[in-house]
Assembly symmetry: C2
Homo-oligomer: 492 residues x 2
C-alpha cells in the first residue's frame, strides 16, 4: 500500500472514532442521565486520545512526505494538505493536555448547567479558571506549531485560516454601521407593529410542522433525526445527521426557526462530497461556512417574503390560526422584528453581531490576560451597554448565557457573524445566478437553491480555504457588503 | 510505572472504548435511523479494532509476564488472570476478521429485520452463510489459542469456562424431566383457569408502573434510563445503565415483566465492584450469572406470591382494575401460566428450556458442518415438534424469530437455561440465609434480597469462575436440582 493509501486508511479510522464521539455528544445533550456525566467525560477523553494517537503515529511525518512524492490529483493534493494540517495540530498537544481539557471542560460545563439558571457566576468561576488555563496552554502549543498569534491559533481550530487581522476591520465596520440601522429599524417597525399571534401552540403540532419544513428542505429522515435539547444543535455522524430544537407552547416561531437553521447545517453535512467521506478534504470547510449554510436557510431564505408566502398558510393550518395576524405579511413582520435583548440566541439578525463582537473582544482580552475572569461579569455588562445600550440585570442574562466558554470553545464566536456575512454573499450570488430560486421558495421548493449550493459550496468539502471557496462561488472575497445591503433592504 | 499499573491503564482505556461501543449499540437499537446502519457498522468496527489494538500491543506478553512477578494481592492476581484471558482471545483474531465479522453481522442483522416479519428465510440465507463462515473462522482461532473444541471456544466468549461436556448431561436431564412437568402443569391449570384481565392498558401508565417497580428494585435513574426497543435489553456504559422494554396496549404484563427482568440485569451491572470498575476483574462474570440475576428477579421473586401481594394492588390501581381478576392470586396464575408456544421470548419458565435446548443442538450441528443452513427451517420445525410437540407454521415463528444467530452471536443460547438454574440455586440459598427476604418482597422491599446478592454475587465481579462463585454462594456447584425443585413447587 502506498503512503497516500496508508494515510487515507488512518484518517478514515480517526474519522470513524470522531463519528462515535459525535453520537456520544448527541447522546449527552439529548438523552444521557445527569449522573453519567463524569463517566461520559472519560469515554470522550479516551476517544480523543485514540484519535490523536492515530494522527500522531511515529511514521506520520515520513508518510506525509512520501505521499507528497506520489502522483496525486487536485483533490488528493488538497486532501494531503488537510492531513498535514490535522497532523500538525494533533501533534502539538500532548495526551496529558487532551485528557486534562476533556475533564476540565466537562466539569465546568456540568457546573454551568446549574450555575446559569441560578445566575451564580462565582460557583462556576474556579472551574472556568481551569478551562481558560488549559485553553491557553493548548492555544500556545498550536500557536508555536502553526506560527500564529494565540487567539488565531484557537480560532483556527474552528475556522481554518481565520485570522483576527481580517476580522477586526469588519467587526469595527459593523460596530459602527449597526447602531444606526438598529435604531432606524426599531423606529420603522414602531409605526406599524405586527399583530401578535395567540397560543398555546401544542408541542406535537410544532414538531409536525418542523418535520414538514425539514422535508421541504430535503432532510433525509432515513439518515437523520429531529430531537429536543436545551440548546438546538446539529450533530451525529456520517449518514446519521441529528438536529435538535426546543419547544415553547407560547411561541412556535423560535423553535421552528431553530429547526430551519439546523436543517441548513444538516443539508451542508449531508451534501459533502461522498467520494471523500471520512477524509479531511470531505469535511465541512469550517464553522464560517457551516454557519453560512444555516443562516442562509434561516435568515436569508426563510425569513423572507417568498418562503412565507408558502409557509404562512401551513402555519395557520397547523395551529388553526385565522385572520390578519396569520397573513404572510404579518408573519414576516413577526420573524423580522428587531429588538435590543440580552440573549444572543434569541437575537434578531440585526442585533446579533453586537452580541458576537462583545464576546470576541472579551475572549481576546481574557486569553491575552488583560481581563481577569473575576471581572468578566462587569466587563460583559459594560460592553452590552456600550454596544446595544442595555445592561443585563443578572449574569444569567449576561456572561452565563452561552455554553461555549464553559465547555472550552474559545475562539468560536466570530464564526457566527462571519457566517452571516457569507450567507448574505452566497444568497445574493445564488439569486443572481438563478432567477427561479426565490419564486420556487414561494412554492416551498428549495431544489433550485440547493442546485446552486450543491456544486458551489457543499460538494467542494474542504478542497479550498473559506476565502477561496467564497471567491469562486461569488466572484468576491468575503466582506460585509452583501450583509449590509441585505439588512438595509430588509429593515429600512 | 510498573507492569501491573501499565496494564491497568491500557485495560481501562480499552474498557472506555467498549463503553462508547455500548452507547452506540443502545443508540442503534433505540434511536438510530434505519439508513444509518452501514455507517454505524463501520463505527463499531473501528472501535472494535482500536480496542483490539490496545489489548494486542507488541509488549503485552512481556507486560503480563512482568506483572506476574510483582507483589499482587488476590484481586490483582485474579485481574491479571482475566487480562491474560482477554489478551489471548483478542490476539487470536486478526484485524481483518474483526472488520469482516462486524460488517457481515451488521448486514445480516439488518436483512433479518426485514426478513423476519416477511417470514422470508431465503432472503437472509446468503448473509447468514457469511456470518456462519466468519463465526467458524473466529471460533477456530479461539479454539487453537485456548485449546478448546470449536463450540466451547465460542461459548467461552459469552460464558468464560462454559463447556459443552458440562452442559450436555444437564440439558439431557431437563429434556427428559420437562415434558412430564409441562403436561402436568397444563393439566393442573386447566382445572382452574385464571380470569383474563381486560385492556386496553395505556402505554404511559404501563411506563409509569414500570418505573415504580424499577424504583422499588433500586434502579438509579440518575445513572440510567428506561426506553423502548423492539427486543428488551440491558446496555449502556459505566454509570449509565440503559434498559429497554416494549409495550402492548392489550397486555401490560409482558412489557412489565421485561422491565423487571432487565432491572435484574441492571442491578448486577451497577453492583459490580467500584474499586475495579473498567478492569477485567470488575466485569460481570459471564452471561450465565448475568441471566441468573435477571431471572432471579423476574422469575424467582416477581412471579411469586410474596411480590404479587404487594404488586397486584398497584397494578389494579394503575389501570383502574377491579374485581377478582385483579387479585394477587389471579395475577399470580396469569404470570405463571404454562403454554406450549412457538416464540422463545414469550415462553414461560417451564417450556423455556426446550427452546434453548433446540437452539443449542442446532447451533452445534451447524457449526460442526452437520446441518447445512439451507436445511435449518426444517430441522428447527422437527426439533420443536420433538421437544414441545408443536410445529411452527412459518419461519417467522420458527428459525427467524431470534436475532442472535443473524447478528453473529453463536454459542450464546445455553446461558439462558444455565442462568435459570443458577437463579433458582441462588434464590434458594438467599432465602435459606435470610428468612426475611420473601416477607420483605410482600412489602415491595428488595433490600434484604440485595443485601445477600451484593456480597455473594455482584461485588465479586469476575474474581471467581461462575462455578466457584456459585459454590461459594450456595455451597454447591451449579446443577439443575434447585431449578427442578422450584418448578415442581410452583407448577404442581
Amino acid at each position: 500500500m502506498g503512503a497516500c493509501a496508508t494515510l487515507e486508511d488512518r484518517f478514515r479510522r480517526a474519522a470513524l472514532i470522531g463519528e462515535a464521539a459525535g453520537i456520544l455528544s448527541w447522546d449527552r445533550a439529548v438523552v444521557m442521565p445527569e449522573g453519567s456525566a463524569a463517566a461520559r467525560a472519560e469515554q470522550m477523553a479516551a476517544l480523543g486520545l485514540v484519535g490523536r494517537e492515530i494522527l500522531t503515529a511515529a511514521d506520520m511525518a515520513d508518510l506525509l512526505d512520501a505521499a507528497g512524492q506520489e502522483p496525486l490529483d487536485d483533490w488528493q493534493t488538497a486532501n494531503l494538505r488537510e492531513m498535514r494540517r490535522d497532523w500538525v495540530r494533533a501533534a502539538a498537544i500532548p495526551p496529558r493536555l487532551i485528557e486534562a481539557r476533556a475533564r476540565a471542560n466537562a466539569a465546568c460545563e456540568m457546573a454551568w448547567r446549574t450555575a446559569r439558571p441560578a445566575s451564580d457566576y462565582p460557583a462556576v468561576l474556579p472551574l472556568l479558571e481551569d478551562v481558560v488555563r488549559l485553553t491557553v496552554e493548548a492555544g500556545q502549543a498550536w500557536s508555536a506549531a502553526q506560527d500564529l498569534p494565540l487567539y488565531d491559533a484557537l480560532l483556527d481550530g474552528f475556522e481554518p485560516g481565520g485570522r483576527s487581522r481580517d476580522i477586526e476591520p469588519v467587526f469595527d465596520d459593523l460596530a459602527a454601521f449597526l447602531p444606526g440601522l438598529i435604531g432606524a429599524a426599531i423606529e420603522r417597525q414602531a409605526t406599524r407593529p405586527p399583530r401578535p399571534i395567540e397560543g398555546p401552540f401544542p408541542v406535537d403540532r410544532q414538531e409536525a410542522l418542523g418535520r414538514r419544513f425539514m422535508a421541504a428542505l430535503g432532510f433525509d429522515f432515513d439518515k437523520g433525526r429531529l430531537d429536543v435539547s436545551h440548546h438546538p444543535f446539529t450533530g451525529g455522524a456520517t449518514d446519521d445527521i441529528r438536529i435538535t430544537t426546543r419547544y415553547d407552547e407560547a411561541d412556535f416561531l423560535t423553535g421552528l426557526y431553530a429547526v430551519l437553521h439546523e436543517t441548513g447545517h444538516a443539508r451542508y453535512a449531508s451534501g459533502l462530497p461522498q467520494r471523500w467521506r471520512r477524509m479531511p478534504i470531505g469535511r465541512a470547510r469550517g464553522m464560517t461556512l457551516h454557519e453560512s449554510q444555516s443562516l442562509l436557510i434561516e435568515m436569508q431564505a426563510c425569513r423572507g417574503g417568498a418562503f412565507l408566502a408558502w409557509a404562512a398558510p401551513l402555519m395557520a393550518e397547523t395551529f388553526g390560526g385565522e385572520g390578519p395576524a396569520w397573513s404572510a405579511d404579518n408573519l414576516l413582520a413577526l420573524v423580522t422584528r428587531v429588538e435590543r435583548g440580552y440573549i444572543r440566541v434569541d437575537a434578531d439578525e440585526v442585533t446579533y453581531p453586537a452580541h458576537v463582537i462583545l464576546r470576541y473582544r472579551l475572549e481576546q482580552a481574557i486569553l491575552a490576560g488583560d481581563l481577569p475572569l473575576a471581572d468578566l461579569p462587569g466587563a460583559w455588562n459594560d460592553g452590552m451597554a456600550a454596544l446595544l445600550g442595555i445592561r443585563p440585570p443578572d449574569d444569567r442574562r449576561g456572561c452565563l448565557q452561552d455554553i461555549h466558554w464553559y465547555s472550552g470553545a474559545w475562539g468560536y464566536f466570530p464564526t457566527y457573524t462571519l457566517g452571516a456575512m457569507a450567507a448574505a454573499q452566497l444568497y445574493a450570488a445564488a439569486k443572481a445566478a438563478d432567477a427561479t430560486i426565490e419564486p420556487a421558495l414561494a412554492e416551498g421548493d428549495f431544489a433550485p437553491l440547493y442546485a446552486w449550493l450543491g456544486p458551489n459550496v457543499h460538494e467542494q468539502g474542504s478542497r479550498y480555504g473559506t476565502g477561496e471557496l467564497l471567491e469562486r462561488a461569488t466572484g468576491r472575497p468575503l466582506d460585509a457588503a452583501a450583509f449590509k445591503a441585505h439588512l438595509k433592504a430588509r429593515y429600512l
